[in-house]
């Protein structure tokens, strides 16, 4: 399917592309940043950008919010994406609060909230387990 990259198409799609940029920024923060809190911020960013994409689907040019006014000629935007996103926002904040609670606990037991350092500490613990096992094996024989 060929697409005319005319001005209409670009103006009609540029908003999507901008949402994509926002999403990607969020996603990048999540995967590339080592600070646990910042990852959560990144997740929020990512999700909010997705919410924007949803809301933009429901928009009708020249329409108004779907609160009925009684005027029969009024054009309303589609309420369904709004409902979905209301749910999604709540799910998002639920995840965020849980993630933050985990961060607090991690900080208490590891003393850091940097991914690298936590990985290192975990790795040390695994190594010490292996060494312990090896020692026991040599004691046996």
């Amino acid at each position: 399917m060929a697409i005319d990259f005319d001005i209409d198409f670009i103006l009609g799609h540029i908003n999507y592309w901008l949402f994509v940029i926002l999403m990607l920024t969020g996603l990048y923060i999540v995967v590339a940043r080592g600070n646990l809190l910042k990852k959560i911020v990144g997740l929020n960013l990512f999700q909010v950008a997705v919410f924007m994409l949803y809301i933009s689907m429901g928009k009708i040019g020249g329409g108004t919010a779907p609160i009925l006014t009684g005027n029969p000629d009024e054009v309303y935007s589609n309420p369904l994406p709004h409902v979905l996103i209301l749910t999604a926002i709540v799910v998002g904040i639920a995840t965020t609060s849980l993630g933050l609670a985990l961060i607090v606990r991690i900080n208490e037991s590891y003393g850091t909230i940097e991914e690298d350092e936590i990985l290192e500490l975990d790795h040390q613990k695994s190594q010490s387990e292996i060494i312990k096992v090896a020692k026991e094996a040599s004691n046996d024989s």
């Binding site: 919010a65 609160i67 209301l86 709540v90 609060s97 933050l100 609670a101 607090v104 900080n107």
Partner: protein
């Protein structure tokens, strides 16, 4: 924050309107924007503000932990219970039409009930989370900010 007299006075003035606004949002959701979720948040914000200014201890006296935690559960039960009542009255789960003679009246009752459930749970959860976080010993001082 005992020494911030202005804060304390303003908070006392503010809390009541915040709670009122919360109630408005809770029960006016059918007509304008808002609903149980937003109302629960606003309600919680009112109390949290009170807690921040007057201390967690005083807030906990008004709303002990166990009450807050029970509220969290209660909201979900109100919501799901509405559905169960609908089933008992012969409808499907969450079919509010059976709640009253006319379908739309039933819908009204149903929506009010479930929005209440949402509000109660959200309020409870917000308070519970606030309690949990505020109850932990901080690793940073006020001054370090």
């Amino acid at each position: 924050m005992d020494h911030h007299l202005i804060l304390r006075v303003i908070t006392k003035i503010l809390v009541a309107p915040i709670l009122l606004y919360g109630l408005y949002v809770q029960f006016h959701g059918d007509f304008g924007p808002g609903g149980g979720f937003q109302a629960g948040v606003i309600f919680a914000v009112g109390f949290i503000l009170y807690g921040i200014v007057f201390g967690l201890r005083r807030l906990r006296q008004i709303f002990p932990d166990y009450v807050v935690h029970r509220l969290v559960a209660l909201g979900v039960l109100i919501y799901a219970g509405t559905g169960i009542v609908n089933m008992a009255l012969g409808g499907n789960f969450l079919d509010y039409n059976v709640l009253a003679e006319k379908g739309y009246q039933g819908q009204h009752w149903g929506i009010i009930a479930v929005e209440l459930g949402v509000g109660v749970t959200v309020f409870g959860v917000m308070m519970a989370i606030f309690y949990s976080f505020a109850g932990r010993p901080p690793s940073l001082d006020d001054k370090e900010w």
